[in-house]
Symmetry: none
Subunit: 298 residues, 2 copies
């Protein structure tokens, strides 16, 4: 009996330790299954810090390695001659003037849904795309494809695909919020400009490339690179007086990729209808943030 | 004594329960912190197809919903007056001329690592940032903060943080590939321009905003929006004759965010050293893809 009363606390402690251990283990398993991708990445970064937690895009990590943060593959660069670089240099007064007038020009840019069917010279579009192609890109991979659609039948097919998905999105929203004004909502999923605009520019990011030996080449930061390129494209359009509206059609990527016969490594990032603004075009009276709201000087 | 021998197992059980509870709790906290945003997204997208598989960025899905692909929140827009929009319109010849000269200007842009310490008027930088702020953004959230660092001490702190991480990256690579030329490699993690350039522009994306009621507001497509803004910023820098190199410092985001005292909703997207090119600046002799390699006409 004395032995038993001595053993009881010991047994209780052992029992508790076992239960506690099992609980902790089940928590760990749960954590593993919910943290999946994140976890994989974390365990990868244990031995190689490819992926900045603050800088995740959906770059597919495949073969090869990215060791440089400067967006140029230093292996390739070692084989390249370096050449002197002396771009145009302006005096301070001219710089100030140029910085002001470019700001004024860009500040006039607005997203415009009312696009004129008037034809636009194709050579202008070619120059705009060439300009977009001057963007920097991770390891100089230039991971972009600009599909310029002017064929009316293809434009219409694109419209059907986009509107079908949009209608589904709106109907689901209506299910949540109840229907108040059907007609009003309806205008939101009708994208007339997809038929009307003389050009639709569909911008695809190449998530990987194919090396001469058939292996995949990782395109690091492809989404950021192509988005930067889109920024330069928007500037180039504004510079020639053309308008667009930045759209990222939800869920339409795969269908549009098949319609336009793009390969599997390309994914749709953006769809821009491009043309002159319609003569009666309007835009919502949005304001932009002030300089003090977006800049911090240190 | 009998009471004591009876109480001992009870106390042991209580003690074990407390210890076990604490262990489980610490595991849970750990699991939460590793599975963060990923987890939220997965559970939300189960009942609502917000997230285009082709268009994932690391937008945190929180309150509210994104139903529109046009980057303007239609709820807000309904309250806004529409105003006529008539931007400058150029004749075809002028358009062609403008598209060509802008392409020539932008095509001269190169990533430059050799930056002159010569001072640059702050007003020029302000205009460049204002220009970047004209970019479109998902639901007009303008989710960007531009931290412009000219203080030498802060620039040096940034350099120390970036170089420490870079050195680790390179040393790990050396472990893989064996050391062939230490001196050559060394130059790759030394970032002199971080001290030398008159300005460092650190671009943060705001992954969410704070509503007046204290709740989080989702910033849809914040990474794409801020990258587009960076594209316009690069164009604005080129337009005034300043140079930079696009860098995305690996793993340095959290440290730099703390150094610059940015709030938790801001994550570093890019770091741009900005100035005039050094008089002896060189660039690798890279070529860009031809138009036919990046454009598809349909």
């Amino acid at each position: 009996m004395a032995l038993l009363s001595f053993l009881t606390p010991v047994l209780a402690v052992i029992l508790c330790l076992v239960v506690g251990f099992m609980l902790v283990k089940s928590q760990k398993t749960e954590a593993n299954s919910t943290a999946k991708g994140k976890n994989k990445r974390a365990s990868k970064s244990d031995f190689r810090p490819w992926v900045d937690q603050d800088l995740q895009d959906d770059t597919e990590i495949t073969t090869g390695g990215r060791d440089d943060d400067e967006w140029v593959d230093s292996n390739e660069e070692e084989d390249l001659a370096h050449v002197p670089y002396s771009p145009p240099c302006y005096c301070e007064e001219t710089m100030l003037q140029r910085s002001k007038s470019f700001y004024i020009l860009m500040n006039q840019r607005r997203s415009v849904r009312f696009i004129s069917p008037a034809p636009v010279p194709r050579e202008v579009i070619d120059h705009v795309i060439l300009t977009a192609g001057t963007a920097p890109s991770g390891a100089h991979t230039e991971p972009w494809t600009f599909v310029v659609v002017s064929d009316p039948e293809t434009k219409h097919q694109i419209r059907l695909i986009v509107e079908e998905e949009e209608e589904m999105n709106y109907r689901q929203r209506m299910g949540d919020k109840w229907v108040q004004d059907l007609a009003k909502l309806r205008t939101n999923w009708i994208k007339e400009y997809l038929d009307v605009a003389p050009y639709l520019i569909l911008i695809f990011k190449q998530t990987y490339g194919i090396l001469p030996n058939g292996k995949k080449r990782t395109h690091y930061y492809n989404e950021i690179s192509v988005s930067i390129s889109c920024g330069i494209l928007l500037a180039a359009l504004q510079n020639v007086g053309l308008v667009t509206v930045t759209t990222t059609p939800l869920n339409c990527g795969p269908q549009l990729r098949l319609l336009l016969k793009r390969p599997a490594n390309e994914k749709l990032l953006m769809l821009l209808p491009v043309g002159y603004p319609a003569s009666d075009a309007t835009v919502p009276d949005l304001k932009r943030k002030q300089l003090d709201d977006i800049i911090v000087h240190i």
